[in-house]
């Protein structure tokens, strides 16, 4: 049963990701991204991380994607123009990606017996567990993220502002 769900949503996730790349209209790509995000949240559920799955749906599939779609609508972005891509991308990129995939796949395949099973609630899963990690053990990274966001906002202002 678990395997069936995994295969179904794993394929859905991959299909969505590929479709995202192949679509020529930004809005179609954005909609495929929603498919990717939602099927990922099902995979999180399978791993026993129900809070993460819910957050994935609410934050990514919900809030962030709405923002994406709004921006695409506001910019009135049309169809992309296709180029043939660079030679380097084909000569180095595709073999590189394949090599990486092979390495990762063979690693997980070799180690598959030493990986255990996960049940719902087996790990840091409840909101109180999560907040203990977030506001105690990892308090500093959490706080420093505010600097990161500040830098990003300021960068957006700087790059978007017109020179006069």
């Amino acid at each position: 049963m678990n395997l069936a769900i995994f295969i179904l949503f794993g394929l859905l996730c991959l299909g969505g990701a590929l479709n995202l790349l192949l679509q020529r209209h930004p809005i179609n790509s954005a909609l495929s991204l929603i498919v990717v995000m939602s099927s990922l949240s099902v995979l999180y559920l399978l791993l026993g991380a129900e809070f993460l799955a819910a957050a994935q749906i609410i934050v990514y599939s919900g809030a962030i994607m709405v923002l994406f779609v709004f921006v695409i609508m506001l910019l009135n972005a049309g169809e992309e123009e296709r180029t043939h891509g660079s030679q380097v991308a084909y000569l180095a990129g595709i073999p590189g990606a394949l090599a990486l995939f092979t390495v990762l796949a063979s690693t997980f395949f070799t180690l598959r017996n030493s990986f255990g099973n996960a049940r719902l609630g087996a790990f840091v899963a409840t909101t109180s567990d999560l907040s203990r990690v977030l506001f105690r053990n990892l308090l500093l990274p959490f706080e420093v993220t505010s600097v990161l966001i500040l830098v990003a906002i300021m960068g957006a202002v700087v790059l978007a502002r017109k020179e006069h």
Binding site: V88, V103, L104, T107, T110, L111, S114, R136, N137, L138, L139, L140, P141, V144, T145, V147, L148, L150, V151, A152, M154, G155, V157, V158, L159, R161, E163, H164
Partner: protein, 509 residues
């Protein structure tokens, strides 16, 4: 959490462990807020001076940290010790000089000067945090702070076509690299059950799956390799360095790299300290590739900024040679080399920013013909930096290379040192070609009026760097002692250190 034990023995307020970062952040926020208060179209120089004062205060705070007992804070996420202080001083020094160089650079060319200072300060906060993090998630967040601010700084000359191009290229490849690094962290967590350097070290020593550890290290190495432009992850470097404003290139070719090398040192000698067989072959290969590809690439360049971009790839390779040495010596050699490289590279790009002007109309090799006659002082300073980049005695570059190659030979990697020395020979050719252009060739009739005249702040910045190049080359003792004290903090890999950093410094004397 081993932090609990630590804080019970010696009580240091956690904020003191982060003092330089806090000073930098507060100055950054202050600059940002004052920028909004100042009237538009007035000079932003006071903000620059405020940023410089803030950086000086952060440097002072780093030196103060030497008197604290080394140890961790915030639940074992950051650690202040001689190692972090060394890199804080390097990063702070680079930022200080960059601010001095660019105090007049953007004035009148863009209306985002205030934000420029704030972005540099925030970026420096990220880099300093990278140097003091002993928790990979913390490293990740600070790496992002440092990267995002440099992506934006690279695109600051918005009116030119090349600067935004540099920014977007840097952004795309940088995000790609970050993804690799994050995947590596995830795999490392999978192998050892922790993202803390000390806990990973315990896991590595205590029989975590070597295969998974190797793949995890490979991923992290690819991510950091992109950031420090090691071959074969260097393709973005020449384009980005060509397009970005020269003072920014000086900053981003040194400070984020110093921080990334600090992280790499913590991962290799700290977390993977008992598993050198995993990372040493990988590092060996990357060192040879970077040195060779960097130097051969530089030979064919006609643009001085592109040439120095390839040279920075080669220098990342020399630095990596130090990683093949055994623990205390390799760490000290690598740390010292980052400082030496920073002094000469920031200087070289500073002079380029002066000679080529804001619009960078004169960045080709032929534009430097006869520069010694037009700008004798600037050419002399440039000559010092180039001589140091070649590695001629009495300069920082010589001593850095000497120390790195000695460390490699002492640890039985004589062949790597031979490859490095051969490469230094090749490198001498293109540096000398530029020197020859400046000193031997007659002045070309100026195609456009050369309006460059040096401001006091620029002269001060360059003077600091020339001095640094000679001090590190002739009297390296003090810097070397600090680098060695930093290396000594790696001695026990499974427990955070707790003896005062200054004591380690004094025992080495």
């Amino acid at each position: 959490m081993n932090d609990a034990v630590n804080t019970s023995i010696i009580s240091v307020a956690p904020a003191l462990r982060l003092l330089p970062e806090i000073v930098m952040t507060l100055t950054g926020v202050l600059v940002m807020l004052l920028e909004a208060v100042l009237k538009p179209k007035t000079s932003r120089k006071p903000l620059g001076i405020l940023a410089i004062l803030g950086t000086l205060a952060a440097l002072g705070a780093s030196l103060y940290q030497l008197h604290l007992p080394a140890g961790t804070a915030f639940f074992g996420t950051v650690q202040s010790d001689a190692f972090s202080v060394f890199f804080h001083l390097v990063i702070g020094g680079i930022v200080l000089v960059t601010l001095l160089i660019s105090l007049d650079y953007f004035e009148g060319h863009t209306n985002n000067v205030g934000e420029f200072y704030a972005l540099i300060l925030f970026g420096a906060t990220g880099m300093m945090l990278m140097a003091s993090s002993v928790e990979l998630l913390m490293v990740f967040i600070s790496l992002e702070i440092s990267s995002i601010s440099t992506y934006i700084l690279a695109g600051y000359r918005k009116r030119s076509a090349t600067s935004p191009e540099a920014s977007i290229k840097y952004f795309l490849l940088g995000s790609f690299a970050t993804a690799f690094f994050l995947y590596g962290i995830a795999l490392c967590f999978g192998a050892t059950g922790s993202t803390n350097i000390y806990d990973i070290a315990k896991g590595v020593a205590g029989g975590a799956s070597p295969l998974l550890l190797t793949v995890a290290f490979g991923m992290m190495l690819i991510g950091l390799g992109f950031k420090v432009s090691l071959a074969p992850f260097h393709v973005w470097t020449p384009d980005v360095y060509e397009g970005a404003p020269a003072p920014v290139v000086g900053l981003m070719s040194t400070a984020p790299k110093a921080a990334a090398f600090a992280v790499l040192l913590r991962i290799t000698y700290g977390a993977y300290g008992t598993a050198t067989h995993i990372w040493m072959p990988l590092v060996w290969i990357l060192a040879v590739l970077s040195m060779t590809i960097g130097n051969l690439g530089a030979l064919t360049q006609r643009n001085v900024k592109r040439m120095l971009a390839y040279s920075s790839i080669a220098h990342a390779g020399y630095l990596l040679v130090a990683f093949t040495a055994l623990a205390p010596m390799g760490i000290a050699a690598a740390s010292f080399y980052t400082a030496a490289y920073a002094a000469m590279n920031v200087g070289a790009f500073g002079i380029i920013s002066y000679l080529s002007g804001y619009n960078e109309a004169r960045t080709n090799l032929s534009d430097y013909a006869g520069a010694a006659r037009r700008h004798p002082v600037a050419a002399a300073a440039f000559a010092v930096f180039l001589i140091s980049l070649i590695g001629i005695p009495f300069t920082a570059g010589f001593f850095g290379k000497f120390y790195v190659f000695t460390a490699a030979i002492d640890s039985g990697h004589a062949w790597l040192a031979v490859v490095g020395l051969l490469n230094s020979g090749v490198a001498a050719f293109y540096y000398l070609r530029l020197l020859g252009q400046m000193y031997m060739l007659p002045e070309e009739p100026a195609r456009e009026p050369d309006t460059a005249h040096a401001r006091p702040s620029f002269v001060l910045g360059m003077a600091i760097l020339v001095l640094a190049v000679f001090v590190l080359g002739i009297f390296p003792g003090r810097a070397l002692r600090l680098a060695r004290a930093g290396a000594a903090t790696f001695a026990d890999r499974s427990v955070p250190p707790s003896s005062p950093a200054i004591a380690q410094l004094q025992t080495k004397q």
